[in-house]
Symmetry: C2
Subunit: 316 residues, 2 copies
């Protein structure tokens, strides 16, 4: 079926929206196409805002504990604010329960959301509750950060930048995609102390999200250093059962929710120095405008990576 | 089945959440339980925020044009900001499409949202697109107003207050629930020019939403003047086919999205004077703490109203 026309994806739709969205006034600093949008208020405060849904059957299984679904929904929302190098301040949540949801499930969802919110001192200040009347359950979180700092966008990567990542990658499907902690303190500290050129949280997978940085920054290509990519224990475990090379899991698995960012080579050295004993941070590659696409370098060999990553599709 | 235990509703859940939500810091001026939440930023600006979902099969029919579903989702979100006497500034939207949604449907949803947003100069600055993979379609809008004004809450009604309403009520199911315009200019003008004690937008129905004001304001009761309640043409039309008294449609039908508010008797007279030739506003009743419940007054008779209104239910 390789000759069939691909169904349109969320990317097609979002691209169409961007083409049909009029230019925003100057106080709208970041609009559609980043982890969060940024609006300057009348004073020096910026509002950083993001909205994100987790859907039963897509982002969690029908048998997933409602507590973990709530936890994931909140953590994803906060992670999108963290990816701007900003601390989330408060949020609102909209939950659409399914026909079989019980009050007990509802409470568990709230407790899961609160666990993450409390951990990062984020206030849940409003919400909306509905019931689909069907076999569908969805949680939406809109998170907001109020800040006087300059948020880090996806669009500032420069040729020659070092590519860095927090933590270790791959295999989140074994459980981490539900119970991860968003990298809020790390994102805030990095933005406070260093000059980052671009940042994103890894949700579509390392290769796909690096692709988003390249696209938004209008950079042509990048090289990833195979031996430098930090491999998670779950990536290794998963590779043993899938029998695929572990590096594939690190590059293509989604939902790591680690921070992927770029900075000048000099700044990257300072970051690594500072990170020692504090946070696991690795330099894993370089932005390279003399290439087109993302390449995996190992020894003297460089292999171009396939473009893949999770995409919602819709009928054309 | 009157002896059977009632299934728990969204109200039970929200009540439980309120009991389990720790007190918010002082800069959180309005939390859970109003049309919108209000947060003071570092400066003089307040962030007024609300989140609201419209769900296929609940808030619109499966055969409803996606354009109208998008329009309704946006209008409802903005109406919740209007109900605070504040102008919405920007919003984010999260759409979960169904398995049969096409790119054409997606574009229509966006166009419907944009129609309302553009009309009130509200910017759509971010969003999230997913697909349920099932026969379910849902649109969530989180709307934000940035203001230096004091928002009007549900909780400030006082004994003796006049009860006022914009527009005419009832029969929205004949079409207005999809294509209404939120009362943004009216809410803003009323808050700017007058001292309102409380305000809400009518979504659950006149009686139910007046009940919300009473509850949040810790008032015991109110009287509505039957002859003063403004009857919409669609309420009259609907009453002809339902053969129910038209006043029932005005009192119990949901989704009027008119503003229901209270003010002192003196202020109410000023409001009516100002409204002449500008906005249809009616004084329809009075807050009365010497009563318990909501009564409908007609001539010398006062009848207590039933407590009813649309409620989502869930299993216990």
């Amino acid at each position: 079926m390789t000759s069939a026309k691909k169904p349109p994806t969320e990317i097609d739709f979002i691209q169409w929206i961007r083409e049909h969205t009029p230019q925003l006034p100057e106080n709208y600093v970041v609009g559609i196409g980043d982890d969060s949008a940024v609006v300057n208020t009348f004073g020096k405060t910026s509002v950083v805002i993001t909205t994100d849904s987790v859907v039963e059957g897509v982002h969690f299984k029908p048998e997933t504990e409602p507590y973990l679904a709530g936890r994931k929904a909140m953590a994803r929302g906060l992670s999108d604010i963290a990816a701007m190098g900003v601390e989330p301040s408060f949020c609102v949540a909209a939950v659409c329960f399914g026909q079989n949801s019980s009050l007990r499930d509802a409470k568990a969802v709230y407790k899961g959301m609160r666990f993450i919110a409390d951990k990062f001192n984020v206030k849940i200040i409003g919400g909306d509750v509905s019931n689909s009347g069907k076999n569908l359950f969805l949680i939406n979180v809109t998170a907001i950060g109020l800040t006087r700092m300059k948020p880090v966008t996806r669009s500032g990567a420069r040729d020659g930048d070092a590519i860095l990542v927090t933590g270790a990658l791959g295999g989140s499907i074994l459980g981490r995609h539900l119970n991860f902690l968003p990298r809020i303190k790390e994102g805030l500290a990095l933005n406070r102390k260093f000059k980052l050129h671009s940042m994103i949280d890894i949700s579509d997978g390392l290769a796909a999200d690096l692709g988003h940085i390249l696209e938004e920054s209008r950079c042509r290509g990048a090289v990833l250093y195979e031996n430098a990519i930090p491999v998670s224990a779950s990536a290794e475990k998963l590779a043993r059962s899938t029998r695929r090379p572990v590096i594939e899991h690190c590059i293509y698995d989604g939902e790591d929710y680690e921070l992927l960012f770029t900075a000048s080579q000099q700044e990257a050295r300072k970051i690594l120095e500072w990170a020692k004993g504090r946070i696991k941070i690795s330099v894993i590659g370089q932005i390279r405008n003399n290439k087109k696409g993302i390449f995996l370098g190992s020894g003297n060999r460089e292999t171009e990576l396939e473009k893949k990553g999770y995409r919602h599709t819709m009928r054309s």
